[in-house]
Symmetry: C2
Subunit: 241 residues, 2 copies
């Protein structure tokens, strides 16, 4: 059955890239010198080192490893993608004639544009009537495989916030960046007594990264239980502030 999935590489402090660059800067060599790149390169290094990722990008080399197998599995599971507008804009030129998706991609945008057909099975369909519609179209196109969020972080947050995500896999790189763009931020729109509950369904640890896959249960109220001890635990709780 088709699931809606997302996966992302993050630092141990939850950043998927360094602090945001000067808004509007689209110059690549500028981006490379800016604050985003060092964190981004560190967090994604495990994937770039893996044979399966490199093969998709048409780059030789890389390691055959558990990490590489998980990447292969991730690519194989996706029958269609949904993608944020900003990611598409940044990718259109560098992806070239044969982008690494090889299945239909649905771009959530405000700008109508005809379908863009590329080699190798990738097509980009521009969806102007919202996220849910993009997911619906991707579901129809996925041929029973999963609909995967291609990125970026903003789209992933919107999907979570809208309750559209069934599965989330994080690849936690063993590094603290201290500052950067956090995958999960107050943009999730949760109040102090709201949470989004998940259930870990698979944990795979390798020397380079920890992969945790979650099934997303959804939004729920956070409750103050009495911890089985009447009022006594209120004090204990407070000590951990």
């Amino acid at each position: 059955m088709t699931k809606v999935t997302a996966q992302m590489s993050v630092s141990l402090d939850g950043c998927y890239t360094g602090p945001r660059d000067t808004p509007g800067s689209t110059d690549m060599s500028g981006w490379m010198r800016g604050p985003e790149a060092p964190g981004f390169f560190r967090v994604t290094r495990w994937a770039v080192d893996a044979a399966a990722w490199r093969e998709r990008q048409g780059i030789a080399g890389g390691e055959q490893s558990v990490d590489s197998e998980l990447i292969e599995e991730t690519f194989a599971a996706a029958g269609a993608y949904v993608m944020g507008r900003r990611m598409f804009d940044a990718g259109e030129v560098p992806w070239g004639e044969e982008p690494p998706f090889h299945v239909p991609v649905f771009v959530v945008t405000h700008r109508p544009r005809p379908v863009l057909e590329r080699r190798g099975g990738t097509s980009f369909t521009f969806v102007t009537d919202g996220l849910e519609r993009a997911v619906e179209l991707a579901r129809d196109a996925a041929g029973g495989l999963d609909v995967a969020v291609a990125g970026g972080g903003e789209l992933l947050r919107q999907m979570l916030r809208a309750g559209l995500l069934d599965q989330l896999e994080l690849h936690i790189a063993p590094v603290l960046l201290g500052d950067g763009q956090r995958l999960f931020d107050p943009g999730l729109g949760l109040g102090a007594d709201d949470g989004i509950e998940l259930v870990p369904t698979r944990v795979v640890g390798t020397p380079a990264v920890t992969h945790i896959r979650y099934s997303v249960t959804g939004r729920s109220k956070l409750v103050l239980d009495d911890r089985g001890a009447g009022g006594d635990l209120v004090g204990l709780a407070q000590t951990k502030r």
Copy 2:
């Protein structure tokens, strides 16, 4: 050999409690109604449900489980603790005559005070000449066992920042809080091309929580590698923004 260790329960988005309460509020029933408590209770629930944690607090019940075994192991490994002043202040009264530490505790503070001896092996020594001195005293008192950071989050960050931590274990509760006090924040004082590197040494997944233990390598420069593909990968990198 004595290691300096820390462990903390956090949400999947890195918070150890909800957003900070009104500064200066020390009234417990007020704290329970405030924004910190719901997140704190959710993130620590796995521990409170475990037999080993409850036993230490003198509370009956709880589950015998892998989570409980890990808690037991954590308590058993600590020969002495270092503790932040705020945690001690909040804990002194509720911990009562027999605090749950059962070994010497060194409190980092600016206020001198005589050693406080409690029942069951716990003593509180107030160290006014800095974090490193507290660690040194704890090391001498640990009898070959580990020196553990008792908390809170601020002390843990200071320890990391000062390069004093050998091992860090995070217990990641499967919940997104959206907002709250983050264990790792810009207070780590890292520049955009600095990181703190760690190596995962043990990963244990249970239905309630994912335990990841890290050895802390320390501060290092984040490098922009060429990803084995010359300049071509600059564009690919940027697409993931």
